[in-house]
Symmetry: C2
Subunit: 264 residues, 2 copies
């Protein structure tokens, strides 16, 4: 998984929140490794083993600090797109020489794009980057800092963002409807683009400890389905659609890359 | 007064909030006029007569929609700086031909610069623009959307912003200490840069109507001094420092402009 978006939108807080709600014993702190991929953008790789329905899953999240932070952000997505293609190439080479790619397989099965909760609509940078990402990876747009828009503002903003995504033909990941759990999947699709709240702190509300952001006027709770869609997004990534995200990457995005390379 | 900052930071909501808390009868809606000053930036002039301590004051606010909204924002401040200089020039010409400049005097006595509440620090665009504005006008930086940072985050963010303003030698307006009301002035200076919350709606809290933003977890109130510094900012602009802002503009900023022009 990768997180992309301007700095200050809560990407690293979200990664901490995701791992802390998944790891039983948070003491197994995820390992964070920093790497400079270009003058303007670097990548942080955060990795930990989580247990999910009896399976052991290695979750790797790639953060992209420095993205979009310059006066002139033209082509700032190029290093990220190159990074995604490189992972396909590494895999292709390993496949050809029949080597297994265990430890350092950084292929991205889902890319979360963080949208500024401006209340208006997508910026020209958002549109261009999502267009570029949507053709190469399972793109999941999220509205960052969901606690900064009121309920009505959030609804109106989600609609404007969706209109913009459709108008520009941006290719967004949509979970497939396959019969048995349709109601849940419908609820997930209805909520897209997901609004998320992240927090490094736990707060006591009515005697219970919850993860949330404490203001003088109340506590915005991360795992409260009324306050934001964090739970729906986590379920999509780790529970209900993990296999679909992986197979979609291998069958579609990787195959696209191979075809492009072989016919280039 | 002028408001400058990227779109979606709540500038027009702030202007509405300011007028609505100053005009007794909000029916005398302020008049809004739109003008395109350059391809990339336009200005909206919002004007109304307010009554303050028995005086009739004409408050004109210039909003700058479109500022900083492009992929490449280099030199996006140039049209605004040119607009500020033009007003000095118009005044200079009127002074020389002994004409009074009543109706369309758009000289800016205070410029509010809206800072994104990223939780990190000032962006390179913020620094450059504030440097340019600080030498020409009374610059008052404000932290937009004050309800999106928790109390501790806000305190840490204000300190980082101040450190950055001092490190880059940005010239920010500071109210003068002049003896009799020092305590108040100290409290105002302590609170800078002001955090503001704006809202177009009134909400009922404990049976009282207040201007605020209603979330599921509580109401962030515009005029609650615990929640933000809106009241301190409004008092500085309209009550305690209005004369100082005007005389500082006429004696310092206008004179600087005249000297530059005469010696050019
Ligand atoms: N209001 C709000 N602030 C958040 C949220 N998540 C993170 N933040 C704050 O946003 C600031 C930047 O967060 P950070 O994770 O460093 O952002 P990054 O630069 O995108 O990695 C910090 O002050 C966080 O406390 C959120 O969901 N809501
Ligand atoms: N959280 C929060 N949102 C605000 C605040 N003020 C305005 N907004 C919202 O921010 C969005 C953009 O506001 P607008 O005034 O149009 O911004 P402008 O483009 O800078 O003029 C709208 O959805 C407003 O409801 C505030 O103080 N806090």
């Amino acid at each position: 998984m990768a997180t992309v978006g301007s700095s200050g939108l809560g990407k690293s807080t979200f990664i901490n929140t995701l791992f802390s709600t998944l790891l039983k014993d948070y003491k197994q702190q995820p390992k964070r490794v920093h790497d400079q991929i270009e003058r303007t953008v670097s990548i942080d790789v955060v990795r930990a083993d989580i247990e999910e329905k009896g399976f052991n899953v290695r979750l790797t999240v790639i953060d992209t600090p420095g993205f979009g932070d310059y006066m002139n952000n033209q082509d700032c997505w190029v290093p990220i797109v190159e990074f995604l293609d490189e992972q396909h190439l590494t895999y292709m080479k390993a496949e050809q020489s029949h080597k297994r790619l265990e430890a350092d397989d950084l292929r991205v099965h889902a890319c979360l794009y963080f949208i500024q909760p401006s209340g208006h609509t997508l910026t020209s940078l958002d549109i261009e980057v999502m267009k570029q990402l949507g053709t190469r990876v399972n793109l999941i747009p999220v509205i960052a800092k969901g606690d900064t828009l009121t309920k009505e503002d959030m609804k109106a903003f989600k609609n404007r963002v969706l209109d913009c995504i459709n108008a520009h033909g941006i290719n967004m990941y949509t979970p497939p409807l396959d019969g048995d759990d349709d109601d849940d999947t419908h609820a997930i699709i209805e909520a897209m683009p997901f609004s998320i709240i992240a927090s490094d702190n736990e707060v006591t509300v009515n005697g219970q400890k919850v993860r949330g952001r404490e203001y003088l006027w109340g506590v915005a709770e991360v795992e409260n389905e009324q306050h934001c869609d964090f739970k729906k997004l986590r379920n999509l990534l780790i529970r209900t659609n993990m296999y679909d995200l992986i197979s979609n990457t291998e069958e579609n995005h990787y195959e696209d890359y191979r075809m492009k390379r072989l016919t280039a």
